[in-house]
Symmetry: C2
């Protein structure tokens, strides 16, 4: 089955675990709104690609790993968009959850999605009970304290933070969990695969910083210039746009070279390559390198 | 070991899973603030008492079950206290997390505690991998949609809700999960134990409604009269104080009678009895029955 279709179907099945006639209807609607339509689904795609490279001998467990990672990502977006954080009215081209359903339901949807991520893993755990504990630990470490995405967001509440530590936690940790969980779901050692997630996660954070400056808000599906507005740490602010692009290229190169020699290596390299172009299009790179890229939004 | 001590030590050990030099210091401090000092710790006490009644052959797993239930309870309190819900400045006699650390950290602490609950279960799962999946599912069902405490809170965001469904989800579900998880951690069938949690949970919600009207705010550790102020569903508002007390007594009686015949039965009956007096003191009951209990806060 096509990976994208497999992911959407698995997400739908996971959401149904939290739905019934006994559930509050607006919570159900708001939770679906947070998950569909999705973004690029890059984390679950990466998770499934690694599981496939490792033999994918327990597809239901790999699906659950991919789904849990994506649900946790969605939860973090819903909470990040809250008025006390980014106060974002738009997400993925539609109203953010708090804008559409109110702040209280947005808090609850994030909570419900975190719980559902682990519920989905437990459900699939029957297919390989001996793998479940380590898988739950890997996924939890990618999202919780001390170094997961919740910690990354919490660095924004500290008087002082190191940019690399912040980015590693805010974005890299869940990518590393995605590759590690993909390997574990297929019964393989996760350590050989963490590097790919780490490098790619760091590249995503840098790309996000570049896109916050360069992108068309309609294409991005959310407002731009937020790092500057919120005085938030950013590679683009720290290194300049050209420096950030050079850093992004280097990280993707490291990611590609970290892929172990296996049956899925070519597919994974192609995935990294296509994401590179999607995230930071070549046309931007030439504009940035020729010094023509100072969008009106920045410093304006 | 004394159950109370065992619980505090297990909570401390679980929190340390989320702490390291790499963690944001204010997140670590705010998370501890949310968990210590605790309230009555009734849910984990109940969980351990049931595990003991069932033989407690995997104490580390029972500890993790008790801890996960209490961490999820703490998470729900932190989020319930947020400005968009109860806007409570006090909790357990000290500043609530958002009052002490700000709204952003309060959102993140709740998220981190939910993740930590499952992380702690995964850690202990190595002691009995074949029990872990069902244990995670039981705990997740107690807190998530469609019928766990998150759903209970979400009923407050619906235009119409049934009081019993709301109370069952908001309080009963986590109590039922506590007794079921205690049995499962010890390798027993959870179904024989759900009744105790169900009845007791419903009794707690009714007690909470009575206490919201009757208690001294200094003793309660949080403001009173909030149900009236927030126009929230409440047994005391629906049945009147005397009716709510009669309902409370009946629920405790059902809880006591549901305890299966086992080595822990007497201890569990004693636990229910002492909680009854702690929650709704006999002195209140006589005042309410004699019609002398119309505190100045209500309708004032």
């Amino acid at each position: 089955m096509d990976a994208q279709l497999r992911i959407e179907q698995a997400l739908d099945a996971a959401l149904r675990l939290g739905e019934s006639k006994a559930a509050p209807p607006r919570l159900v609607a708001a939770t679906r709104h947070a998950v569909f339509p999705g973004g690029a689904r890059i984390r679950p795609r990466l998770c499934l690609a690694v599981a496939w490279a490792c033999g994918d001998d327990r597809p239901a467990l790999a699906d659950a790993a991919a789904v849990s990672i994506e649900l946790l990502h969605c939860a973090s977006l819903v909470h990040d968009d809250l008025p006390c954080f980014d106060a974002a009215a738009m997400r993925r081209g539609q109203a953010s959850v708090h804008a559409a359903f109110g702040e209280r339901l947005a808090v609850l949807v994030g909570d419900a999605l975190i719980v559902l991520a682990f519920r989905a893993l437990a459900e699939a755990g029957r297919h390989a009970p001996e793998r479940l504990g380590r898988l739950v630990a890997t996924v939890a470490d990618g999202v919780g304290a001390p170094e997961g995405i919740v910690a990354g967001q919490a660095w924004e509440c500290e008087p002082k933070a190191d940019l690399a530590t912040y980015q590693r936690a805010k974005t890299g940790a869940l990518f590393a969990a995605a590759t590690a969980a993909g390997a574990q779901a297929a019964g393989h050692d996760p350590d050989a695969w963490r590097g790919l997630g780490d490098w790619l996660g760091e590249a995503y954070q840098v790309a996000d910083d570049i896109r916050d400056v360069m992108a068309d808000p309609a294409l991005l599906g959310k407002p731009i210039g937020r790092d500057e507005d919120l005085d938030r740490m950013s590679s683009a602010r720290e290194l300049g746009l050209a420096g950030a692009v050079a850093h992004f290229d280097e990280l993707l190169d490291q990611a590609t070279r970290s892929i172990p020699d296996c049956r899925g290596a070519a597919a994974l390299r192609a995935l990294v390559q296509s994401e590179s172009e999607r995230l930071v299009p070549k046309s931007w790179v030439s504009r940035i390198r020729s010094g023509q890229a100072v969008p009106a939004q920045v410093g304006g």
